[in-house]
């Protein structure tokens, strides 16, 4: 079967699952473990934060099953310099060399600062990080990120946490058609059907967080996302036909009724 060897490779690392999972906003950390297992995800994101010295802290890493690749994000970074600093802390903390570059300084729609993201990507890629930048769905930005050494491009479907799905669909298609590295739709995916849609149009993977973490049943929806991503991927590989303007009969029109007039 064609899909038996359908492996996603990012930064030389192989992944069978094409669903990346964010670990924020879960009702409690134990749901993170269960959601990762139910989703089959092999690549999950975490964030770095100052320890709250006034209350009890837990470390999310201890809730991530063994064998799952951990990718710190640079959330909180407002420019390239801060993103680079966060990435270095994450690596020094034993988080591996996968880093999601996320640079945001606009707090209403949380749009990424593409210029700073490109700068950070270049610096970190040179420093042997596997860089996955979160960016606007823009072909030229994607090209620059790729040239800067990005291991994958992560264009947004719609604003973070908005659940609005693929509002940038046509723009993401342009990136998919032209990128030499994997394209992962990140942000805005609110339902499994959105994930299937992204995969069906040829995205290499999707990254989901809010939609899973804030569902009433995060574990069940993890499974739903896993199936949706697989369904979309299989559909893409099977090369589903394009829409047609007119009907085309699925049953043979033998015409014998006409002769019995």
């Amino acid at each position: 079967m064609k899909n038996a060897n359908d492996i996603l490779v990012i930064g030389g690392k192989k992944f069978k699952s094409r669903l990346l999972l964010g670990t924020g906003k879960f009702p409690s950390p134990k749901f993170v473990t269960e959601a990762i297992k139910a989703s089959g995800s092999e690549l999950v994101t975490v964030a770095l934060r100052r320890v709250d010295l006034t209350s009890k802290n837990y470390n999310i890493l201890s809730y991530i099953p063994k064998g799952v690749t951990i990718m710190a994000n640079t959330s909180g970074a407002r420019n390239a310099k801060e993103a680079v600093r966060i990435a270095k802390i994450a690596r020094a903390a034993g988080c591996g060399n996968f880093i999601k570059v996320e640079v945001i300084n606009e707090m209403k729609y949380l749009m990424p600062d593409n210029e700073e993201t490109i700068k950070a990507t270049e610096i970190l890629a040179k420093d042997k990080f596997v860089v996955l930048p979160y960016c606007m769905a823009d072909l030229v930005v994607a090209k620059k990120l790729q040239d800067s050494g990005a291991a994958a491009i992560m264009p947004l479907g719609s604003p973070i946490g908005s659940n609005k799905g693929l509002q940038t669909k046509e723009l993401i298609k342009m990136i998919i058609e032209n990128a030499a590295v994997p394209v992962i739709v990140d942000a805005g995916i609110g339902r499994p059907s959105h994930a299937a849609e992204a995969m069906e149009m040829g995205a290499d993977a999707v990254l989901v967080n809010t939609a899973i973490a804030t569902a009433q049943d995060p574990v069940l929806i993890s499974r739903a996302f896993s199936l949706a991503v697989q369904a979309g991927r299989f559909s893409y590989l099977a090369r589903a036909r394009e829409e047609q303007k007119y009907a085309s009969a699925s049953s043979p029109l033998t015409g014998f009724l006409l002769t019995e007039k």
């Binding site: 964010g22 670990t23 924020g24 906003k25 879960f26 950390p29 993170v32 994101t45 975490v46 964030a47 770095l48 934060r49 100052r50 320890v51 010295l53 802290n57 837990y58 470390n59 999310i60 890493l61 201890s62 710190a72 994000n73 959330s75 270095k88 802390i89 020094a92 903390a93 988080c95 973070i160 942000a187 990254l207 967080n209 809010t210 973490a213």
Partner: protein, 67 residues
Amino acid sequence: MIKLKLNGKDEHFKSALTILGLVKSKKLVPETIVVEHNGNIVDRTKWDKVKLKNTDAIEIITFMGGG
């Protein structure tokens, strides 16, 4: 008495202490945190060797859920 900038806030300590001493005094679990001393990450194995000086900046960082 020394003054440290601990996670962005000034805090006073009665006597000089090491990073390890600071971590212990805050009842933190070493394996779950990263310590930055004046902008440089200090390896956990060296925490007991780094003596903190007046006005040093310390950042204590951990991993949280994030997307």
